[in-house]
Symmetry: C2
Subunit: 264 residues, 2 copies
């Protein structure tokens, strides 16, 4: 099976032109098939402020009301996605911007209202919600899909969807056709043994190590869902999951010393 | 050769939910291959106002400065395009939203500065600027491309590009592979003999008739470039060009009595 790299970048790099250019240059130079998934919450907040849209939170989680959905549709699906695509085209990477609505690539359902109504937030049920045929067709044409963190419900509504989740469900769905390597880029060089020391990257984490890190409190509340997602992806056929700094993407993808490798 | 309908809709329908829904339902029910091209200037102006972006004009033509480019990238490429795509998906039309940057479908060049600097406005040089292979590949997968009026320069910049022009260059480029029918929808039922009488639609206009209509002042300044574009498309192999009301799209496409048919 052919190798496929799925790489997720977050808001911490999207608003820094120099770092973004360096990352996109590295991404464009990767060999073989690849998919990029981007976030963009920070930029959406800035433009939301200019539009007079007040962010709504319940228990620290953002609520996507109707005007926030319009905001993220503009910012994620339009501004960020198309700028990244045009940038990659200049680097001779044949990028194509997508939301889950485009060619019905990712079907989701509006999050069920239990105690909190998250509004237009989308949950992806699983592998079957991914249009593997179309994505395979695009990759076969030499196209690099670039996903904004948006899906749709099949009834005409777009849904705001976590970019980590999108990367993860794409990875598991495409694992039947490709040797998928999933890489989450974030603001640190990997999972750190000591949060105050950027050089204390843990090279490898398996389930046993993960339990130990949780017990000793080394991994933080923010990192636990990322690692949970990573293990879920590995149990569903993804070959490798890595977490690291976008600036070291070439080394991470090449299986070098950079980043943290998650294994079962 | 297979038939391909390329249909352009403008801002006058995009901001009217009931009419838009009716049009998209009709569009989704069209048989065979089709491409939709949308405008959206009215919605961009409204959101621009909320963002405090003042529209700039020279001789009645809008100037796309850097902040206006960001605005139209958000509104055309994000808000309008993705809402239309999600809406079409709900109508079981496998739509995929595109700008010219996506999969390098339309390469343009920044308009040359002569007396006026139009800013980030894109001109498409001709058929060779269209990635026919990718569009053909998508259509073969049963995908319906939905174009926002944006292109790119290949050097990383998006460009604001007239939606009529995009429809026209797509039509002429794809004429080598398909029997292309190009339809421009606008606020009238066709080219009118009497601007004050909506029922005075001229059924057919050929070159001779066009000259006559220009001489007698029947066709207005706004209509002349549309008709010029139509004749240019016909001389480059497009089978039919029609102008009419989005509400009558089924009848227009079926070659019925609605709209104005342009012929050589």
């Amino acid at each position: 099976m052919q190798e496929l790299n799925i790489i997720k970048i977050g808001g911490n790099i999207l608003d820094k032109p120099t770092q973004l250019h360096r990352f996109l240059s590295d991404f464009a130079s990767l060999p073989g098939a690849r998919i990029l998934v981007h976030g963009g919450g920070k930029i959406a907040s800035t433009i939301g402020q200019r539009l007079g849209i007040t962010p709504k939170y319940v228990d620290g989680r953002r609520i996507t009301d109707a005007e926030t959905l319009e905001l993220v549709t503009m910012v994620y699906g339009g501004l960020i996605n198309k700028q990244v695509v045009a940038h990659l085209q200049a680097l001779h990477c044949n990028a194509m911007g997508l939301t889950g609505a485009d060619a019905n690539t990712i079907l989701a359902s509006k999050r069920t209202v239990l105690e909190v109504d998250y509004g237009f937030a989308g949950d992806v049920a699983g592998n079957k919600s991914i249009n593997v045929e179309v994505l395979h067709g695009m990759l076969a044409l030499g196209i690099t899909p670039v996903f904004a963190p948006l899906t749709h419900d099949g009834d005409g509504s777009l849904l705001n969807t976590n970019a980590d989740t999108i990367a993860s469900v794409l990875a598991t769905a495409l694992a039947s056709r490709y040797q998928v390597k999933l890489t989450y880029c974030f603001e640190k060089r990997g999972v750190l043994q000591d949060a105050t020391d950027d050089d204390s990257v843990i090279a490898q984490i398996d389930r046993e190590k993960f339990l130990e890190l949780k017990e000793t409190g080394v991994v933080s509340a923010g990192m636990i869902p990322k690692l949970d997602n990573a293990f879920a992806a590995l149990t569903q056929g993804v070959r490798a999951v890595q977490i690291g700094d976008a600036a070291e993407i070439n080394d991470i993808v090449a299986g070098g010393k950079a980043g943290t490798l998650i294994t079962l």
